[in-house]
Amino acid sequence: MAIEKFLVEASHIMMFARSVGDANPIYHDEEYANKSELGGIIAPPTFAQSSAQFDPDYFLRPKIGGEGWFGSGKEATGAKPSKESGGGGGGGAAMGLHAEQHFEYHLPVKAGDVLTATTKPGNSWEKESKRAGKLKFSESVTEYRNQNGELVITATGVGVQTERAVDS
């Protein structure tokens, strides 16, 4: 997966910060942020996750005029019966559940930045679990670079496919 243009915009940062319960003015108050040491609005630490908005093929977003959507409409699922019988963690979501996430911050991400992201697969491994059956873990490493070509964030995600639904 590659994202060619991840526009980091102040309004998106504001909405993201709200959704994670963060009222810090560094994420929405331009005047305050400009006077701060950082010199402007910055992105909160997990904001890079919203790069999904800029991935044209992101599979967990209903597509305009697309192939349909597996969430409920008239029926409990929009998925075609041949494709997915349900159950399991993810209901058609290829990555399954999110097991781990790690960020390394090299430079601040600021409103106005234009990032690119490239993702490479990392390690993969299996584990037995009493709660969810066989677990298949797989890692992906995403590098975010800014408009100057500088590495700003390295993000490592670990996904897990479970045999059964997990309801802790």
Binding site: S19, D22, S50, S72, A99, E100, P108, S168
Partner: protein
């Protein structure tokens, strides 16, 4: 930014991250992050098709809420690393408390940093997130 002479190994910072998590906040996170997986927002799909008792929060929402606690403690733009494991699911109605514990104060790349152990627990004292973070501090 934390100041070296004001902190000690073993110091603990805690904050309530969310009380009685609402489905609407999960929807809000879906919209902001772009992750529209119906497991988080579509009760009908999640209960009838995927077989879960209800929708549940994105792991990244819990990590984001925990990140709010973290940056409120260490200061803006000071994080060098932040990583977590999602150890249990977070459900609507949950109340989450985040905790950051100083485990080391050391040098890195010519500056001082603090290493933190992170844990977020629900109202039953079950950990939903465990992890660690490193942040720059002022000497």
């Amino acid at each position: 930014m934390l100041k070296e002479n004001e902190i000690n190994v073993g110091d603990v910072h805690t904050a309530v991250l969310v009380e009685d998590l609402k489905r609407t906040q999960i929807v809000q996170y879906a919209g902001a992050s772009g992750d529209y997986n119906p497991l988080h927002t579509d009760e009908i799909f999640t209960t009838q098709i995927a077989g879960y008792p209800s929708v549940f929060a994105h792991g990244m929402l819990s990590m984001g809420l925990t990140g709010t606690m973290l940056t409120n403690y260490v200061g803006d733009g000071t994080l060098k690393k932040y990583g977590v494991r999602f150890t249990n699911q977070v459900w609507p109605g949950d109340t989450l408390t985040g905790k950051a514990t100083i485990v080391d104060i050391r040098e890195e790349d010519g500056g001082k940093v603090v290493d933190l152990m992170i844990e977020t627990t629900n109202q039953n004292d079950v950990a939903v997130i465990t992890g660690n973070a490193t942040a720059r501090i002022e000497t």
